[in-house]
Every structure is written in C-alpha cells, then in structure tokens.
C-alpha cells in the first residue's frame, strides 16, 4: 500500500508500524520505548506524529499504515509536544548533567569520578555516552527541566549476581519487562505499584535469583538507560574496540560483540541479527571476561624438571614434547575439546593421525549426538534449524532442560509457543519451560527410551499409518508388536494418559520438532534411545533438532568423519588406560585420569591449569577462543566465524600452531601453516565442513556458511532397527546412574575450566538453582486455556 510521510510517498507492506516504515525510508522518529524485537508498547509518547483525519498525536510505534495515510513526523507542535514529554521524563531522572551547559567539555575536565554509590548525573552513570536518553536530549534540544525534579530515592539493588539494578534511573520504558516476558519467557520482572509509584520489580520484592531470573542479560541489553548495569563493567569507560566473536560454550553458537578496553575483554553482548538475534545466555553474556582472564590461565610453556613443572621457552618445551611423543608414536592417545575452532581440530586430528599415529582426535565430551545418529545410519531426515523452530506447531522436548543448557534455542522455541505452538515436556525442564508447557510428562531416570517406545506404540494403536509407505515400516511395526503402552509408560515413570496425550498431540499435526540432547545420549545405551526417537520422528513426520552440547560438536564430527577410520571413543580410550598399550597421552581436551593411568608421557595443551597437569610432563599454553580467530560449526550446521578480540594471554599460542609446531618437529610433512586462514582455506578446498551432517541427505549440497540459512530439505527417510528397552519395573536401579565418562553435562565449562569456578556469580546462581529445578511437577491436564497468556 501507499502512504505519505512528510510529503513523500512510500510503498509499504502494512505489517510494519509507521515508525518502522519511516525508519526504513530514512526518517528517524524519536522513540524510547520502542524496540524492534518487542511488541509495540506506546508508553514514552515521544514517537508521536500527526495523521490526517485522526485526533491528537498518535504514537507512530503503535500505528499501522493504512492505504493513503498521510503522516507528518515533524512540526512545531510535535517538536514541542516531544520536548515537553522529554522534560517530564527528565524531571524524574537525575538530570543535572543532561542539561548542563558545559557537558560537551566535561570529559576534558573530569578525572575518574565514576565510582559513586548513587548516580546523581551522567558522569556517574554506567551508561554515560552509551545512553539513549542522552542522545534524545541532544536531539530534541532540551536544555532545561522546568519542573520540580524528583529523585525516587529507591535503594540500589546490588544483591543479585551479574548486574545491578538502580531504578532511580529507570524511565519505565518497559523494555526490560517486555523482553523478559515476550522473548525469554522468564517473567522474572514486572511492573509493581501504580501511577507515580510505578516501578519495575519482582514478585513480593524478592531478589532476582529468587524470582526465577535466568540472568540472560536480555533486560540489561535493551535498557536505554543506566538502570541495569553489568557489575564488572559498571565503573569502566566505554570500550575502545569491539569485535565479533562466537560464543565458545554450547552448540548454539551465539554471535557476541566483545568489547575491549585496554587489551582486555570488558564485556560481551549478544550481536544483533545472526543466529541468536540479539539474545544470549548468562554464560555468553556474563562469563567471558572472567573466563578469558581467569587466574587459572597457563601463561608459559612448562616441562617437568626434577619432578616439578618448570617454565621454559617454547622451543625447549616443544622439543621436549616432540621427543617424548615421537618415542611413543603409535602408542599415544589424543583428545581434543569440541570447544576448539575447526581449524584447531583439523590440525589436531591430522597431528594425531600423521604424527602420533593414533587414528585422530578423540572428542573429550564423550558421546556426541551426531556420532550416535551417524553410527545408527540415521540419514535422510531433515535436521531442524533454529531459524525454523519458531514456525513449529508442536515442540516436544525429550528430557532436556533446554532453557538451562541451550537458552537461546529455548528463545526460539518460546517464540513458537507465543505464536500458539504446543510445548510438551518429557522429563527434565528448567525455569520458564514448565510454565509454558501444555503437557509435562513425568519421567524416571533412564525411562526415556520406554517413553518414546510407548508413544510410538500408542500412535500405532491410534491407527496413524501416515508412515506406512516409508521403508522399514513393517519391521518397525513388528518390533513394537509385543509392546504394551501401559507397561512401557509405567517403566518410563509416566502416566499412561499423558503418553496418549502426547501421542494425540503428535497425531494432531502442525510442523513438529523434537528437541533432545545430552540426557538422551548420556544414557548407557545411547544408540537405542536415539534410534527409537528417530523412528518416532519418521513415524510422525517430526523434525529432529539435536542440541549439540559444545560449540564445535558438529565441526568435530565433520572433521573426524572425513577419515575412513574413526578415532577411538573416549570410553575406549579410558578403558585402555593402565592396560600397558597406551604409553602416552596428548590432552587437547579435558579428560579425567584415574590415579593408576599407567602413562609414561603426558602432554597437556590447554588454556587453563587443570587436574591432569599434576601428572603432565609438558604443559603447553593455548590461546583462548577470543585470542585467536577461527570457525565453529553450530548445532544446525552453520559455519560461523569468530574474530580475535584480544592478544593471547602470556605466551599462549593458538592450538593449531602448537600442534603444527610439534608435528613439524616430529617430522610430519604438510604442517607449515602460517595462520588460521590457510587452514580454513584447506578445509574449504577439501570440502570438510561441506559434508552433510548426519540425517541430511544430498551430499554435494553446499553447506550453509556463516548464516544458518538452513540445511537441505527433504531426503530419504527410513525407519531404522531399534531394540525395545526391557520394561524395568519400579524399584530397579535407575539405568543411567553410571555417569558418562566426561562427567560434565550441559556446557558450564570452557575446555577444562568450570565456568562456576571462573565466575563466582555463576556459581552463586547455579547453587541457588541446584534444588528443585530439574524436574517439574507433572502438569497433566491442558491447564493453559486458549490464548490465556500474554
């Protein structure tokens, strides 16, 4: 449709507001409460415009174009209305600096006076020079506040981890509340009180921790003022430089904008757009600085001298390590963390095969979902993408506390829920998930395979034969012939009605997505569970979205699967410890070693000092992710580039460099890389990252580089053989009591460093949530009425 803005005629879709449409055409209307990711709120009243035929001044942020609409965005009346409104805002905001006549020259004169308990003006404010209010004051030319100024005198809230809340600076734009409700689904904060007493707060004025805050930082990032300020960066000057990194923790791979001040990371905020669209989680948002600059960093190469580790030069350390390793070639194991860049993993894998003679790098995270899928021959199905998740009609989460392990995947799932999708939880859940679920199916530890089988059977009993023509259907049907829904349900620890409810929901259609992750593959027989789930997906036409645990789980899998012979699994490697065959170990990924490991030679290549260093013969300091550049492949197969933000700590070097240097010293050819770019070029040339991920057909289809633009669509699909779990009767010891070898769940770690160890605030948060959050009380009926939530 056509509308006229300030006398110019524009073609607009009608779906964006007048404010957005104007902006798209270069007309920037002042606004404060507007945020592109949030529903219109129309509270600040600065975006007012005049519209022919309408009374008063409608807010452009909440007005949708109509054919032929004539809008005026600038007039003397509007300017004065906006100025007066802003003056009113300023009357409740510390305004001395905002209207100070000398403000331009303030920085010249003031020394560091930012450290003050109360913010009395911009120069004390954590948001100084980043603040949207400051910009608007300048833009609207407000130079005095003609009204009595009010300082609310609210106590500054400092007791919560990560950020400080000073609502004396709040202008009640509501962005924080809205992002928490609309985007994160956490609803930890809300408005309390009314009228001039209105303020942002929590239920019963509890701390954010007690109110269920996820500390995702979304509120901090949308706040236009200094009300919400990251504790660590609060008194610091604005950043000197910014670079774009990819979060190294979980498999989502959020883009982060890393701020750098004086060669150190100041903070990290989620990048706009991209995969995470301006969202991150507590780990990526708040722990990078503590992790990268952790006191546990190894700063210099060390080798064992007289039974003790001593700092030496790189040359000495490399020579020493190369000698020790060469002497044990063929009898050496190699682990690599899946939180390393593809470049590092590729060189390490080659180093393992070509120098150590060990068949490649064993991923230190233990069982990976992708390994299981490919081991089971589960190919030909579409793997979901984060981008398509919001379009889902039904989302089933199989025993995974997604909002805790992959919070940004939860954001996409929640977007679907807000659009009306059904969310069904089987087993574990966390924080906001259970509140938004329409069905929570109870689950005993180890009961997941039973539950999946029960649902498959219930669907067969319903006569949903949509999958009858799919290869393998007869065998699949036969395998379930003897199964009994109620026995399986009992063994799963679920109510039979819930199992059938879940089956009904899956029969109901709408794009279905299954989310699953570490808890399924962490079971003693991961392949069984994965195969059962695969079959259920084939049966229902669901899309699988495996939640890879680590930032480069997929990259690691792609790199390893280019070779014919696989590296030993972590458990195989563990088992061979102490048996005599394994003489040396090269740890570029954390591994818990038993007391009697029987190793003659141990090299640790890590960014952090860790337990294994106690036995190490050489410790080689590796640069942390933000100190080098490289690529991760995230859970949906996107190849994502992370830029270097800060120089490597101490003498640490990129992982690829260390491995290449050793390989060279051990006489292996083809390791003369000069920079990561050369390695990436080789990866591209060999098409390593272009291999289709398991479950994706159509080899040769180019990989979606950097964008997450989605994986190839439909391919061959077939049921795979899957054994039924033996129905365990209640009282049986829970099956997955035997912990997976890596011991870690989720990705509260970076390489060998526990994030809780690095960040006391994260430790505080995790400790406070350890009780009670993992398994929600079963929510059996559909308790949420149609549309009955915001």
């Amino acid at each position: 449709m056509k509308i006229i803005i300030d006398g110019r005629s524009f073609e607009v879709s009608g779906e964006e507001t007048v404010l957005e449409a104007a902006k798209a055409h270069g007309i920037d209307i002042p606004a404060l409460c507007h945020h592109p990711r949030l529903a219109p709120w129309a509270a600040c009243r600065l975006c007012v415009v005049e519209i022919k035929g309408r009374n008063g001044y409608p807010p452009s942020c909440n007005t949708y174009p109509e054919e032929g609409m004539e809008v005026v965005t600038d007039s003397e009346a509007l300017r004065s209305q906006r100025r007066r409104t802003l003056e009113l805002i300023l009357s409740e905001h510390p305004n001395a600096c905002l209207v100070c006549t000398e403000k331009e020259r303030c920085d010249e004169h003031k020394a560091s006076i930012r450290k003050s308990a109360e913010v009395a003006g911009c120069v004390f404010c954590p948001s100084n020079r980043r603040c949207e209010l400051q910009k608007l004051v300048d833009r609207l030319g407000v130079d005095s506040v003609p009204y009595d100024s009010v300082y609310r005198g609210l106590p500054v809230r400092r007791s919560d981890p990560f950020f400080i809340q000073d609502y004396n600076l709040c202008i009640l734009c509501g962005r924080c509340v809205r992002v928490c409700h609309e985007v994160r689904g956490a609803a930890a904060i809300s408005f309390v009180f009314r009228g001039s007493q209105a303020v942002v707060g929590t239920q019963f004025d509890r701390s954010l921790i007690a109110a269920g805050c996820q500390f995702c930082g979304a509120c901090v990032d949308v706040c236009p003022t200094g009300s919400l300020a990251e504790r660590l960066a609060r008194h610091e000057e604005p950043a000197e430089a910014k670079s774009r990194a990819v979060c190294p923790y979980c498999g989502v791979g959020c883009g982060l904008e890393v701020s750098v001040l004086q060669g150190r990371i100041q903070s990290a905020a989620p990048a706009d757009g991209g995969i995470n669209r301006g969202q991150a989680c507590v780990r990526g948002r708040f722990t990078l600085r503590d992790v990268v600059h952790s006191p546990a960093r190894v700063l210099k190469p060390m080798i064992k001298k007289d039974g003790k580790l001593a700092e030496v030069s790189w040359d000495e350390a490399l020579d020493f390590a190369a000698r020790g390793l060469k002497a044990r070639a063929g009898k050496t194991g190699l682990t690599a963390s899946s939180q390393l860049f593809c470049e590092d993993l590729f060189v390490l894998d080659r180093f393992g095969r070509e120098a150590l003679g060990c068949g490649g790098a064993t991923p230190s995270a233990g069982v990976s979902i992708l390994d299981e899928l490919s081991a089971g021959g589960m190919t030909g199905r579409v793997l979901g993408s984060l981008k398509s998740l919001p379009e889902a009609g039904t989302i089933v989460v199989f025993d995974e506390p997604v909002s805790l392990t992959h919070p940004v995947a939860w954001v996409s799932a929640f977007e679907a829920v807000r659009k009306g999708a059904k969310l069904i939880l089987a087993g574990a859940a966390s924080g906001p998930m259970s509140r938004h679920a329409s069905l929570c199916v109870g689950l005993k530890p180890g009961g997941l395979p039973h539950l999946i089988a029960a649902v498959s059977k219930a669907l067969l009993e319903k006569g949903c034969a949509g999958a009858a023509s799919v290869p393998g259907f007869e065998a699949f049907k036969k395998s379930l012939e003897s199964a009994c829904v109620s026995r399986l349900a009992e063994a799963a620890g679920a109510a039979e009605a819930d199992v059938r409810g879940l089956a009904d929901a899956l029969a109901g259609g709408g794009p279905i997505v299954f989310l699953f992750g570490g808890n399924l593959v962490g079971l003693p027989r991961p392949l069984q569970g994965v195969a059962l789930l695969w079959n259920l997906a084939v049966q229902t036409g669901a899309t699988l979205l495996p939640l890879a645990e680590e930032s480069d789980t997929a990259g690691s899998w792609l790199i390893r699967s280019r070779a014919k012979s696989p590296a030993p699994s972590l458990s195989a490697l563990s088992e061979s410890l102490g048996k005599g065959d394994l003489k040396a170990l090269y740890l570029a990924g954390p591994m818990t070693l038993p007391e009697k490991h029987g190793l003659e030679f141990l090299v640790v290549q890590d960014s952090f000092l860790n337990a294994a260093c106690a036995w190490a013969d050489a410790v080689l300091p590796a640069a942390a992710f933000a100190e080098a550049e490289g690529h991760f492949v995230n859970l949906e197969g996107s190849v994502r580039k992370s830029e270097r933000a800060v120089p490597p700590a101490g003498e640490s070097k990129p992982d690829w460099w260390i491995a290449s240097e050793l390989a060279k010293r051990m006489g292996a050819p083809g390791f003369s890389y000069e920079n990561a770019g050369q390695i990436k070029a080789q990866l591209d040339k060999e098409g390593v990252l272009a291999l289709p991920a398991p479950g994706v057909s159509g080899a040769g289809v180019p990989p979606p580089v950097g964008t997450g633009s989605g994986l190839p669509a439909e391919g061959k699909k077939a049921f795979v053989p899957a054994s039924l779990p033996a129905p365990c009767v209640s009282g049986d010891s829970p099956e997955h009591a035997e912990a997976p070898v890596s011991g870690e769940q989720g990705s509260d770690h970076y390489r060998s460093l526990s994030l809780c160890h690095a960040s006391p605030d994260l430790a505080l948060l995790r400790r406070s949530r350890r009780t009670g959050e993992a398994r929600p009380a079963a929510k059996t009926a559909e308790t949420v009425t149609a549309g009955g939530r915001q």
Partner: protein
C-alpha cells in the same frame, strides 16, 4: 424453557399476586444496608408471621431506591406510601396503622424542605417527582434475588420479542434508532458499536459488561447490578444475539460484594430457566455469562485495561486502535458496554426506538442516572431525561444546597470531569453541552460544591486521585499528573510561585494531547476548567495570599474578637496545642505562632457568642515548632 413456557410462568406469577395485596418493600441497597435495613426487613417479616398475615401481606427486600440519604427507606405498596429513616422500633406501629389500617405516621413521612409539608406518596416527594426512572424504577419493586419479580415487571419480554422473529440486524437497527449512547464515559453510539462487532467475521466473539465503576462517589452501576441484575443480563443476552457472541463476562469489582452476589444469583437463575446456556428459550441462541471479579482500580474500568485484567495480566491500558471490536479478549472481537448501557437495552426493545428517542435532546437520547453528592440536601441516585438543566437537578431534585449556602460549582464526569460554575446552571445536561463546558458526562458523577469549597483545593484533590490511579505506563499521565498535583499542592500551601499557572496549563496540554488512554487524556480537566472558570481563586492564592473559601490552611488565620469574647474558656480547653491563652471571664487570645489552624476553637465557640474569627489574607507570623 421455551418462550411459551416463559409466558406461562409469567402468567402464573401474575395470578399468584393480587394487585391490591399490601406489600412492604424495604430498600436493600448498600446505602440502606449501612442504616440497618436488613434488620428492619427481618422485623417486618417476623411481625407479619407473628400475626399470621403471611397470605395477606408480603415483605420484599428490594434494590436501591436512590434516595440513600434517607435510609432505611420503606415503601408500602400498592399505595406507594413513602416512609423514610424508619427504625426497628417503628415496625410494629407501621404494620398496625398503615398496613392494616389507613393511618399515616407523620414522623416517618418526608417533609418538604421548602414548605414544611408532609408528603405521603413516593412519587410526590420532590426528589422523585422530576425524575424519569425508566431504568432505576424497577429497583423499588424487585427483589433482585427473585427472578419472578423481574418477570412480573415484563422482564425478559424484550428478549422474547427479539428471539421471536427479530433478526440481529433488526435489533441493531432498533438500538441505533433509539440513539442510545454508551453510559460508561465516552458516549459512543451503542448501535454503531454493535454493528461494527457484528460486521467483523470472527469465530468467537465476546460481550462484556463493564461494572468496574471506579469513579469515587459514583454508584449507579452498583445499584443496578445489586437491585436489578436481570435487566443488565437481559441487555447482554440481546446484545450477544445481535453481534453473534456466545460468551460474556461481567467485570465487577470485588469491593461490591452485594453486586457480585446478586448478579451471580441472577446468572444461576437464568441458567436454570434456560435464559442462559444452550438454546436460549428454545431458540438457536447459545450464550453464557461468567462473572469476573476485579481487584478494583480506577484504571481497570478502561476497556483495554479491563480486558488485560480478564486475561490475567496487569490492568494496564494499551493503545487503540485496535479497538476491542477488532482485537478484544484473547484477540477476538469483543463488545464492551457499561452496566447502565446494557440496562437500557430491554426498555428500548420493549417500548421501541421511537419512544426512547422521544426522550432527551438532539444528540443525547433517553435518561441518565447521576450520583448526586456533595453539599446538597438530597443526595442519592437520580435518573433524569437527558437535556434537563443543571439547575433543575440541583434545586428541584436535590433540594438545593445544605444549610442554604451559596452554590459555587458542580463537578460532573467523575475525577476527570470538569467543574461547572454557577453562571452555567442553566446548562442542559447532554453529551455535547458538557463537553463544550470543558467537562464530560463520564459515568454520571455529580458533586455539588458550595461557597466554602476552594476550587484550587478541588483541583488538587482530583489530581491526587488521578496521579495515584494512573496505571503508570505512559509518560505524560504518570509524570504529568504528579507534577500538576505537586504544583497545586504548593499553591494551596502558600508556596506557589510566579509562572505556576503557565506551567500548569502547559503540562495539562501535554498530558491531554499525549496520554495513551482516556484516564490521562481527561485527567487535566479539573485543572483546565477551574483555571477557566475560577482563575481568580488561583490568583488570590498566588498573588494576594488569600484562600477566598477559607479552606487552605496556609492562608487562614484564627483570631478572637476581644469585644465579643465572654471568656468561657471552651476554646482554651479545645485547643490541642495550647495556643489559646486567657483567664476565665476575660477575653482570650490566640498565640498565632503556636496555632496549627485546626479550627477547634472556631467549632466550640458558642453560636450565640461567635467570638472566634476565621479570616484569610492576613500575614501570619512564622509558626514556632512546639
């Protein structure tokens, strides 16, 4: 039950009730409750039973009669004898003399203020005489908990008429032709609203009755819901039929327990008789009503805020459009009308649009109920035809000002209405005239103020109210009302400064033009109208150091006339801060520096003496802290 069934039931009820049978109706409105009407009603019932008169005399507890000032009110039907301020002790005598005999009890009759004459019949009482009680009238005859009473007064006949052959369009046309406009405040044409809702294709539609009634002092919606809930429900069912809704809500504040109780009972009774539920009266109409109890905040009455509240969210308004018709409850088409609006519908359908349109003025048809309160003799609920002059309401119905004081202004339209001065007493009460005068119809609050009212103080009072009741969402309303309230407070405290009036007008303009919802858009009205009509009072405060009405303490001084004072010492004893000095039988004096201006001395000085003076405009010495 189908329509014929209902006719039969109505006939049965009529048959069982003789027209001449004496009926003692005791007002059971909330006002009379406070005066103890429950006990009075019980006493009548006991008395009737004691004498074995159950078959000959009936006792009925009805809804509010409107003249709450005079409670407990008892009307003896069929003669319509009006007894006021009737006490428990009178019950026996009333039964003896007036119910069984023909004798009137003088002391219980209303006596005309002007003539001093006793008046026996309800409709002759001046308070009622000029009223036209189309909507409120039923209250006096109906036991709200008894569907039969409503049926006996042609209740649900309008619904029968609608269901027996009127198309939804015809119903809407009828309501449109009647000229009915919303009684909740904005005065939007009801028929037009229904038409819009009807025209939108939406699988699920809702109708909502707005019974939040947050205006201080207003209680007409409450009285209707308490006293005649079926009239509201009948309107809603007809509305649902007209727009095609299957589900409805009555949003009533929990502070109205009797309204909640009575409307809940009425809904249950309707369900039992097939007036709500599936296939209403044997027709194809399915419709049911839920009662939603709100927590009672002024802003919850705003329609988008009300819907948020029903959906379980904070009662905070949102920008319109979309209007509720376009996106209402859970995104569905929703038609919201006020209690009184709904209650008008059955009358219109029963009597036809022309009959309704014959009442009122050009753009304002029918009657309107007002809550007449303030410094007036007859306070209570009055229902008058639109277009009646303010003067008639205040003097003829309201009986003039208390204590013969001079009229100063009347505030209409609730907290965000405006103050209309004495010069405009001949203003006809209709939507356009009120708006033109800078006020509004609002929900029908009418606060009468006499010469002892300070208009700056009044503006301050209302701005404090809106400041507290603003939801706090949008900037102009949240901060603007606070700033206005603060400036007004300063002025009344004698701390005003030059430029305050300009600031007030500037903020008022910003708030009016910039606010998100009706609350903010109208909140400056009390300031704007008092500035318009009573500017001199502001000037007196700001420039002359006077409060002409002797209200604002900062400008008031108390003194003792040395000639008149007889030295009785009453004031000395009454003064809480010992500011009065003097010896018995000798003239007393007030230590100005100690005086806190509580006025205790002024109150106790014997009327014959009147030695204590209250003045304004005198310079007052700085008060010393005790």
């Amino acid at each position: 039950m189908d329509s014929q069934g209902l006719d039969k039931l109505r006939a049965e009820i009529a048959g069982s009730r003789s027209k001449d049978m004496p009926c003692i109706t005791v007002c059971g409105g909330t006002g009379c409750h406070a005066y103890g009407c429950l006990k009075v009603a019980q006493a009548f019932r006991d008395e009737v039973r004691k004498r074995g008169l159950e078959d000959k005399v009936s006792v009925r507890q009805t809804g509010c009669h409107g003249f709450c000032e005079r409670g407990p009110i008892v009307v003896l039907q069929p003669k319509g004898i009006f007894y006021q301020r009737l006490q428990l002790a009178d019950v026996c005598e009333v039964v003896d003399k007036t119910v069984l005999g023909d004798e009137l009890i003088e002391r219980l009759l209303y006596s005309d203020e002007a003539t001093g004459k006793k008046i026996a019949a309800e409709h002759d009482v001046p308070f009622y005489k000029k009223q036209k009680r189309l909507i409120l009238g039923g209250n006096g005859f109906i036991d709200p908990t008894d569907l039969a009473d409503y049926l006996a007064l042609d209740g649900y006949k309008a619904l029968q008429k609608v269901l027996s052959g009127m198309s939804p369009e015809a119903v809407i046309a009828e309501v449109s032709a009647s000229g009915l406009r919303g009684r909740g405040g904005a005065g939007f044409p009801t028929g037009r609203k229904w038409e819009i809702c009807r025209s939108i294709a939406c699988g699920l539609k809702y109708v909502v009755c707005n019974a939040d009634e947050g205006d201080p002092g207003a209680y007409m919606d409450r009285s209707l819901l308490e006293g005649n809930p079926h009239s509201v429900l009948e309107g809603m069912i007809i509305g649902a039929y007209a727009i095609g809704a299957r589900s409805g809500f009555v949003y009533v504040r929990n502070e109205y327990p009797l309204a909640v109780e009575n409307v809940t009972k009425a809904v249950e009774a309707c369900r039992k008789q097939g007036l709500l539920g599936k296939g209403i009266l044997g027709s194809k109409l399915d419709f049911d009503v839920k009662i939603f109890k709100g927590a009672g905040a002024f802003v919850s009455g705003e329609e988008t805020s009300l819907m948020a509240s029903i959906e379980g969210r904070r009662a905070s308004p949102r920008q319109k459009p979309p209007f509720p018709a376009q996106s209402g409850l859970w995104g569905k088409t929703t038609n919201i009308n006020n209690v009184e609006t709904w209650a008008n519908v059955p009358w219109i359908v029963r009597n036809g649009a022309p009959a309704y349109a014959a009442i009122g003025t050009g753009d304002s048809k029918g009657t309107k109920i007002f809550a007449l309160v303030g410094k007036i003799n007859n306070t209570g609920l009055v229902e008058v035809p639109m277009g009646m002059k303010l003067r008639e309401i205040i003097y003829d119905i309201g009986g003039g000002l208390k204590g013969g004081k001079k009229f100063k202004a009347v505030q209409t339209g609730g907290p965000s209405g405006g103050c209309i001065p004495a010069e405009m007493l001949d203003l006809p009460i209709d939507y356009a005239s009120l708006a033109q005068a800078g006020s509004m119809m609002g929900s029908g609050g009418m606060i009468v103020m006499d010469e002892e009212t300070c208009m700056v103080d009044v503006a301050k009072y209302f701005l404090h109210f809106t400041q507290e009741e603003s939801c706090g969402k949008c900037v102009p309303c949240r901060i603007g009302t606070r700033q206005m309230a603060e400036i007004l407070t300063r002025i009344t405290r004698g701390e005003g400064s030059e430029g305050d009036i300009e600031k007030l007008s500037a903020i008022a303009k910003t708030v009016k033009a910039g606010s998100l919802c009706g609350l903010g858009q109208t909140a400056p009205n009390p300031v704007l109208t008092t500035l318009r009509y009573f500017r001199h009072e502001y000037d007196a405060h700001l420039k002359e150091g006077r409060c002409p009405a002797l209200v604002c303490k900062a400008f008031v001084t108390f003194g003792i006339d040395q000639v008149k004072c007889i030295g009785c010492g009453l004031c000395l004893k009454a003064c809480p801060v010992k500011a009065v000095t003097g010896q018995l039988k000798k003239p007393h004096a007030i230590e100005q520096a100690a005086c806190i201006k509580c006025g205790a001395c002024f109150e106790v000085c014997p009327p014959k003496v009147r030695a204590v003076t209250k003045e304004t405009g005198k310079t007052v010495p700085e008060r010393v802290q005790p």
